[in-house]
């Protein structure tokens, strides 16, 4: 079964409005995706993990994102730790506000007493 071409030529396929695919886009697909099937040459991509490449590919940005509390590619997007930390920050602010309120009240009582 053949499908009609979505674009006039293959080279057009990677000239989208957004400015095109970068090397990381291509590597993460060609290297990490696609059907894994045993050929005759046993190059076990899963074993060697392409260490240097993988490191260059991901580590810096992953660590950086995690520092910012964004790690949701590792779990459900709706369970981002950032959302949780945002929630914590709000709770924190609310608690501080209430403490200030109580302190103020205690000060007033003290003056009256």
């Amino acid at each position: 079964m053949t499908m009609p071409a979505p674009r006039p030529s293959a080279s057009m396929a990677y000239q989208p409005e957004g400015g095109g695919a970068n090397l990381a886009d291509i590597l993460e697909r060609v290297l990490d995706k696609g059907v894994v099937i045993a050929g005759d040459i046993k190059i076990n991509l899963l074993d060697i993990e392409l260490l240097t490449i993988k490191l260059r590919l991901v580590v810096a940005s992953v660590e950086r994102a995690k520092e910012m509390g964004i790690d949701w590619w590792e779990s459900d997007p709706s369970l981002s730790s950032r959302a949780r930390s945002g929630e914590l920050a709000r709770e924190n602010a609310e608690l501080q506000r209430r403490i200030a309120e109580l302190e103020e009240r205690a000060e007033l009582e003290e003056r009256r007493g």
Binding site: R7, K33, G34, I41, I43
Partner: protein
């Protein structure tokens, strides 16, 4: 090139299709790829030198980023050209057989998996969507305190400095927050529009060459007829300090191996926890 030392590099598997691989689909060898048919499947292959693709040299080559980039681009060029005439199931980079009979064996053994993947991917393409939090420009700071500055002024510029630092930090955090919130809305809406979605790890600017911090790196499987609609949807998302980038249409690499049927056979190495996930709507 001595043909006796050539190996067979397999780019993709398709159903038999009319005509030849389209013009411009020059592969790793620089030659148009060849088709090897077995039953109801076709492997799209290239003759590659054993000096590069035999087990030992290949391991070393894969660590060479320039060689890897060139090979990956050639692999993708062939697969993308195929997508203009048929539905290719892309194989992972460096799937290599000794000769044509090895290629036929590969088709024979993988037959059912390829059939299922072809059914799943036929008529669909992949779109990549990335969201970046833009890096704010560093605050303008005097290179050094003015020598004539008095004590009061010095204290003032210290305060100014701290204030600028605080503002820069707040602005950065606000950008992150906006990028994160936008990513969630975008991913939820695009997932609902797509047939499947996959989250990839954020990319490192050193390799991608894109300024800003990558917050969302996702792929969506979309019917070919709905590509423009999908792209328009993505373009509708914009916010200050946040960049949304669309790539595609891609051959559906990110969805070629999904599903329980594509788990490696028992005893084989298991898929590493590479931090990506795929989800398919039933």
């Amino acid at each position: 090139m001595n043909s006796t030392t050539d190996l067979r590099y397999v780019y993709a598997v398709t159903r038999p299709f009319d005509g030849l691989p389209p013009e411009g689909a020059r592969g790793i060898s620089g030659q148009p790829p060849r088709l090897v048919r077995h039953g109801d499947l076709v492997a799209v292959v290239d003759a590659v030198p054993a000096a590069d693709f035999e087990e030992g040299p290949l391991k070393a080559r894969l660590e060479d980023l320039d060689w890897l980039a060139g090979t990956a681009r050639a692999h993708d060029a062939v697969v993308a050209a195929l997508a203009t005439v048929t539905c290719p199931v892309p194989l992972r980079l460096a799937t290599v057989c000794r000769d044509d009979s090895g290629v036929r064996r590969l088709l024979e053994e993988g037959g059912e998996r390829f059939e299922r993947a072809l059914d799943r991917l036929d008529g669909r393409m992949e779109w990549g969507v990335k969201v970046y939090a833009e890096e704010p420009a560093p605050p303008a700071e005097p290179a050094s305190p003015r020598p004539s500055a008095g004590a009061g002024q010095a204290r003032g510029s210290g305060r100014d400095y701290l204030r600028r630092r605080m503002e820069a930090r707040r602005s950065r955090e606000a950008d992150w927050g906006r990028a994160d919130a936008l990513s969630r809305r975008l991913h939820a809406e695009l997932s609902a529009q797509a047939e499947a979605a996959a989250l990839h790890r954020p990319q490192d600017a050193k390799l991608s060459g894109v300024a800003g911090v990558n917050v969302l790196n996702a792929a969506y499987l979309v019917d070919r007829t709905r590509g423009q609609e999908f792209a328009d949807l993505v373009h509708g998302y914009a916010e200050e300090g946040v960049q949304v980038r669309l790539t595609g249409p891609w051959v559906p690499y990110s969805f070629a191996g999904i599903g329980a049927e594509d788990e490696p056979p028992a005893g084989a190495a298991t898929e590493p926890g590479d931090g990506t996930q795929t989800a398919v709507r039933p």
